[in-house]
Amino acid sequence: MTLLTILFDGVAYGMLLFVLACGLAVTLGLMNFVNLAHGAFAMAGGYICAILVNRSGLPFFAALPIAFVASAAIGALLERSLYRHLYTRSHLDQVLFTIGLVFMSVTAVDYFMGSSQTFIHLPDYLQGQINLFGLGVGRYRLMIIVICGLLTVALQMILSRTRFGSRLRAAVDDPRAASGLGINVPQVFALTFAFGCGLAGLGGALGAEILGLDPYFPLKFMIYFLIVVTVGGSSSITGPFLASLLLGIGDVAGKYYVPKLGAFVIYTMMIVILIWRPNGLFGRSAAR
């Protein structure tokens, strides 16, 4: 029974990590852009959701899509105005630039929202546990699994089945040839980038309950996002997805069974995996 509970918690945690990090996997893996400010979009989503729910009294489920759309809009705006100029620049420039953005976002949020933790008021039906076949299951975590599961399937479908998906893959594989074929590459990139930011925003809103939400969110979780992307290999969606699940379950199980080594688990797993498979578990080739 305990094993199942641990598994369940691990899956929920992993799913959350995936939604938060998959935007980064796309920008890093597909567009070859190091966006360390990814967490800032997650934070934006979280705070937008918190403001809508706590101050305007909007229902939680209405606020989630708004958090997604708003973060995506912020992402699109920044992509058009700033990021666009940096696609061709060196990775070091990109690091400098995006860290700068992180610092600015952290301080801006501190200024407007204060530095203490923010919580989103959840509706009663999302709190507590329900009993599924004798197994105590957290309602909120169950909801995370359902939402994130659906999202993953949808993402996979978009990438592999839709016209947009094939355009994106074409644009990534060979931007010049793709634009020669009449694909508007900058537009495809902008849409993808915005979509990734939207997902992060959604993840931030969903994760506030479990990971906490304060102005330092982007810095605190940057490491986790990078771990997911590197371990998963950044050339596809499935890689980071499986990596998130693996890390989520590993982390939760490690902390449950050997709490003394709690902090070591995730880092050790990462190092071991990366030494074993330097390009990530499911990487096709080098990440750059």
Binding site: T2, T107, S115, G128
Partner: protein, 389 residues
């Protein structure tokens, strides 16, 4: 360049003979070193807010001296703290250094306080040993052992037999745990499960599951300020509240600046602490009201630490008649007693540590807001970390 050189020489002489020069000064400078950025930022901001509020209310002149507070951010990094303190003492010639969000920061500045004979007023950091590190350190916050031992005694006497502990894996967490365990076990209780969680811990789920599986009467919790809310939410999510497992601990977890946002999950948690925003005194009501008006949030215990710290400086200056050298100030501060928003407190003349009432409180809903309601008082508690010796 020559002038620079001369002023440096003057500065050198100034620091070496602080007493002589300070008397001639018309301003008393306080170097306030707190974390204003980073994970501990809310500590520094509360302290800074409280000090500004105090100075608004009481004016910035005392005993003929103008008080000047120089705010510096150390981001809770001890090497920063030390450099800033050193620069403030050497260049700004501050009369007092104050603040110190975390124990390592307070310890880092201790040798400087001794060397330069500058009083160091600790307004937040809570490890027992701090005041022993320099004869110039005075504390207006609390020590972890104060509240942890009291809650241990209380739990043992109030029908709690088995306790599981969940503490953050760093020095203050270990101190709180040790203090609690000693008193709880001595009172006949039993610790059935002991879990230390990593400091940077995104998810409490696995640890809480362990708590639940060990079926204790109560969970003793100490996590750094800020993580308390997450803990409580996940505690309720896992249904620990429904299975009758109580939350007890030092009051850091139920810090007033977060409490109201935690939701009903926090209801019924019993903690021992020095301050509650619901403390029923006229002074506190006034303090809370004006703090809320100025900053739009409730003051937490960190704010009270800052408030009392600056009050101590004002009173000490009054007593010395404006003499601002380290030895006179420290002498004036020793044994000082006053009424704080948290209740009656005093500075122990021997250890220079704070002596205060510790209240046992339970989270209840008052007018739709969550408050720690005090229901039992342990009066004039000294730091158990020192009385033991």
């Amino acid at each position: 360049m020559l002038r620079n050189f001369i002023s440096a020489t003057v500065a050198a002489v100034g620091v070496l003979s602080v007493g002589a020069i300070a008397q001639a000064q018309e301003t008393v400078k306080i170097g306030l070193i707190v974390p204003m950025t980073g994970g501990q930022a809310s500590t520094g901001q509360q302290i800074n807010n409280a000090i500004k509020l105090y100075m608004q209310k009481n004016g910035d002149t005392v005993a003929g001296k103008k008080i000047e507070v120089i705010l510096k951010d150390d981001a809770a990094l001890p090497d920063n703290t030390k450099r800033i303190a050193q620069e403030l003492i050497v260049n700004e010639k501050v009369n007092i250094i104050a603040g110190f969000g975390v124990t390592p920061a307070a310890l880092a500045a201790a040798p400087l306080a001794t060397q330069a004979k500058v009083p160091e007023i600790v307004m937040a950091a809570g490890t027992s040993i701090i005041t022993e590190r320099s004869p110039y350190i005075v504390r207006t916050s609390f020590t972890l052992a104060q509240s942890s031992t009291i809650i241990g005694d209380w739990a043992a006497k109030n029908g709690i037999k088995k306790v599981a502990t969940l503490t953050s894996d760093y020095a203050p967490g270990n101190d709180a745990l040790a203090a609690f365990k000693e008193h709880f076990v001595a009172g006949g209780g039993e610790v059935v499960e002991e879990v230390k969680v990593p400091l940077a811990n995104p998810d409490f789920a696995p640890f809480l599951q362990r708590m639940k599986d060990s079926k204790p009467d109560a969970v003793f919790v100490f996590v750094p300020a800020g993580q308390g809310g997450n803990f409580m939410k996940q505690y309720a999510e896992r249904g620990l509240d429904k299975s009758g497992i109580k939350v007890i601990g030092p009051g850091d977890v139920m810090d007033d600046d977060l409490l109201n946002n935690m939701g009903d999950a926090a209801l019924g948690a019993v903690t021992a602490h020095l301050y509650s925003a619901a403390h029923p005194s006229a002074m506190n009501k006034d303090f809370v009201a004006s703090y809320k008006k100025a900053y739009n949030t409730r003051p937490g215990f960190m704010a009270v630490g800052g408030w009392d710290g600056i009050h101590l400086v004002y009173e000490a200056l009054k007593k010395t008649g404006g003499k601002a050298d380290g030895d006179s100030l420290i002498a004036a501060m020793k044994g000082m007693k006053w009424e704080s928003p948290r209740g009656p407190i005093s500075i122990d003349p021997e250890t220079r540590d704070i002596v205060q009432n510790i209240y046992i409180r339970k989270v209840e809903k008052v007018d739709g807001e969550l408050y720690n309601i005090e229901f039992a008082t342990f009066e004039a508690v000294k730091d158990p970390g020192k009385t033991k010796k």
